[in-house]
Amino acid sequence: MAIAEELAKKQRAISVAEFFEKNRQILGFDSAPRSLITCVKEAVDNALDACEDASILPDIFVQVARAGDAFLITVEDNGPGIVREQIPRIFAKLLYGSRFHVLKQSRGQQGIGISAAVLYSQLTSGKPTKITSRISLNDPAHYYELIINTKVNEPEILVERTADWDRPHGTRIEMEIEASYVRGRRQSIHEYLKSTAIVNPHARLTLIEPDGNIMVFDRATDIMPPQPKEIMPHPDGMELGTLIKMLRYTERQKLVSFLMNEFSRMGRKTAEDICKDAAIDPGEVPANISHDQAKHLLGAFRKVRIQAPPMDCLSPLGEDQIYKGLEKEYDVDFISTTTRAASVHSGNPFIVEAGIAFGGSLPKEDRIEILRFANKVPLLYQQGGCAITHAISDINWKNYELNQSGGNGIPVGPAVVFVHVASTKVPFTSESKDAIADIPEIMNEIKLAVQEVARDTKNYLSRQKLLERRKDKEEIIKKILPKMVVKVSSILEKEEPDIRPVIAKIMGNVLVQREVTPKADGCFVSLKVRNFDEHARSFKLHELFKYEVLDAPGAKVMKVGNSTSLVWKVSLVPGEQKVLCYNIECSGTPELQAPIAEGIDEEVITGAKVV
């Protein structure tokens, strides 16, 4: 027998379950603490997805209990439940799922997650996974005990029966696994649920820790996030191989209808333009398109303007929800959030959302905390390898009042930066979905989003500074200066001077000072108006009295009942001073009210009443 034939005997297909049995680190089971988090995370992600699909406000219960050397994990939801015959395959067959062939945002995608957890459980504890599920009050609850036959990647049912359950609908999973329970660091069940609560403010999450400690992350809102819709792929960023595959297997008979029906945002006009640009007959049978023609088609996709993909396949959180989520979990002074418009990477629409929580009780000297999310799932591991971290490190934070040694890297300051990338397909760096790959389009959007909220923060801070300066100035003019004037005058035994000009100068105000000089036939009145501000000021100045006006150059004179009104229009550049004067008929000292200013803010004028 030839050697090749000898070798051929040993060659056989490997089931995916066998593969992951031997390579479980790929799926996030590489350390004892992490395995626990991964199992809980897969169950909770599924629960949230199920509730969302059924428009049910999620109420999820997580218990981690000691079972000898191992841990018993229980995750229970109030979701729609699973029909009986699907239960074994969903939990005990890898790569079985409803979402793989669908273009819309969801937490799970490949159908590996929960069955991988089941696999890990049976490997480490040797025990089956117990599932209870009920789809409505009219149906009984079904109870299963399952393991995966890894040789063929098929479920093996050990126990199957109906059961009593107090929930009208929902699913409960119990797994025993070898793991270790950690607390007090970012990579822990507690932190994972806290982050999940931030990004799912409509969910109530309850955790019972091994020591019996109960923690509830309550909802911040009763509003469900919008349901993402299924869409067709968008031509932007389409790859040649994918296009050729689509052309080969489509049932459409004409190229133009293929384009119109199997891509999003492709109307008849656009489809025809593309055919024309690619110099292919729109009536051509798609299966007959040659390799070269497919290339032309791809070229045409880039040249012809195609509307951005629809956003309704995505379910971003929205600025308000991010705000509520951050507000709920952090004690801070300021929060800014943003949701960017949709973009596309490799034909997949995506949206980046960002938030920043600043000040309050956050530590000032530590590096900022980065909360990373992909399709509403917190990313806990490999922060250093993630596009979110890279984009944040690339920003020059000195422009936004945070310290950053050497002009790059994670900045230092009392801030938490939140970034959520929502996409029909989030490009993870690995199957364990820990970090987002550095796709330039995504990096760029993250950067823009974070810069947007950082700019808000900076504006907030400079506003705070301004207010503080204003408060300082008020302390000077209302408290300190008056005391100083009294003291200085008393030491010298002199009369206290009028300090309004000094006040105007300190405040950067417009100052109005009136001086009255009695004359033989009446009074000469002058209004000295000076702008101490660094901005030009324009306003109207009124004098209202019951005396006869002899002259008032530059003023509009009006009779109001038996009073006379003088009005000047005053415009002053910074530092400029003008003198307005008039003569009135009166005997002795006239009774004059304070001058009236119109069209100027009260806090920028001294010596006149503002109306």
């Binding site: 300082d472 302390e475 000077i476 408290k479 300190i480 200066l481 005391k483 100083m484 004037v485 003291k487 200085v488 005058s489 008393s490 030491i491 010298l492 002199k494 001077p497 300090i499 000009p501 000094v502 105007a504 100068k505 300190i506």
Partner: protein, 360 residues
Amino acid sequence: MIEKDELTQRKLLHLINGFYTQLENGEIPALLLPTRTKANIAYDDDAEVWVYGERESTRSAKTTRGAYQLLKTSYVVDFVNTQLKQAKSSTLRELYYISENWGLAKFGEQQESDRLIEDLEIVSELQREDFHIRPEEDGASILGPLRIREQTRRGTKIIHCQDDVGEAGYQVPCNVDALEFLEHDARLVIAIETGGMRDRLIENEFDEKFDAIIIHLKGQPARSTRRLMKRISEELKLPVAVFTDGDPWSYRIFASVAYGSIKSAHLSEYMAAPAAMFVGIRPSDIINYELPNDKLTDQDIRALHSLLSDPRFESEFWKSEVNLQLELNKKSEQQSLAKYGLDFVTDTYLPERLTEMGIL
């Protein structure tokens, strides 16, 4: 005395009048002061001491900090003015406590009021003695062949600082300008940092053997002590030797005696004795005498580096000694000379060093 008080009052009122005029003219009250940092001291060739340079900073009521300072200044001037009128005096500490009643103008800590008094000295070109403000204690003492006359509150006293005093010596009063030097048999003045070393010199009769006036500095010397050394140095034309530990803080003590201190550079002309010489301990002594030593602390190292950029220490001697000390990473105390016996310092170290320096 009365005339001097009137002059002081006039100068202080002039300052307040400045504020008044500014307020009256619609200007924001402000005070111009020299910047009191190491970077702003300059060598005065005539007086041969370090004084404040040209750099000035404005203390203005534009900022809350500045406004509070000016308010407090007004209150302090009012207080001093009243005190002068009533011919009374008070201590720095009393002033700090009196400010308790000043409301907004109250001082947060004594350092702040002490500093404000120094500021007043600078702007008025007077001394705090002129304000009738004394330090809480001075404590320095002298012992040696010198006869003085002191105007005390209880009459004029004539005292010989060797024959008429006990082992503690003659206590230096706050206002040394009220002292008169009558006669002396001294060849030199030796100022000593620590009490233990002072006692050693007295026990070994250093003052009698070498006709020396021994002054105890007690750490960073009080103003009156420095003023006294300045007067002895100039009026009696006696060489002044400063004997300290071998660490950066001691070098600063020497610098404030010989060159003037940074904190009171405005008084250098009045207090610094440029003829004063540094006897030791020198870093090179640590090697030459193989002195017992300690490792430098991080603070010591920082202080030594700071000396390297201090204009007062910009001589070859200090540069090489400071660098040597940094290299050795060691410091020694005066008393480490006791390694060679209790009499070594008085019989060998000091006579040799003083001869070498041309003092003996």
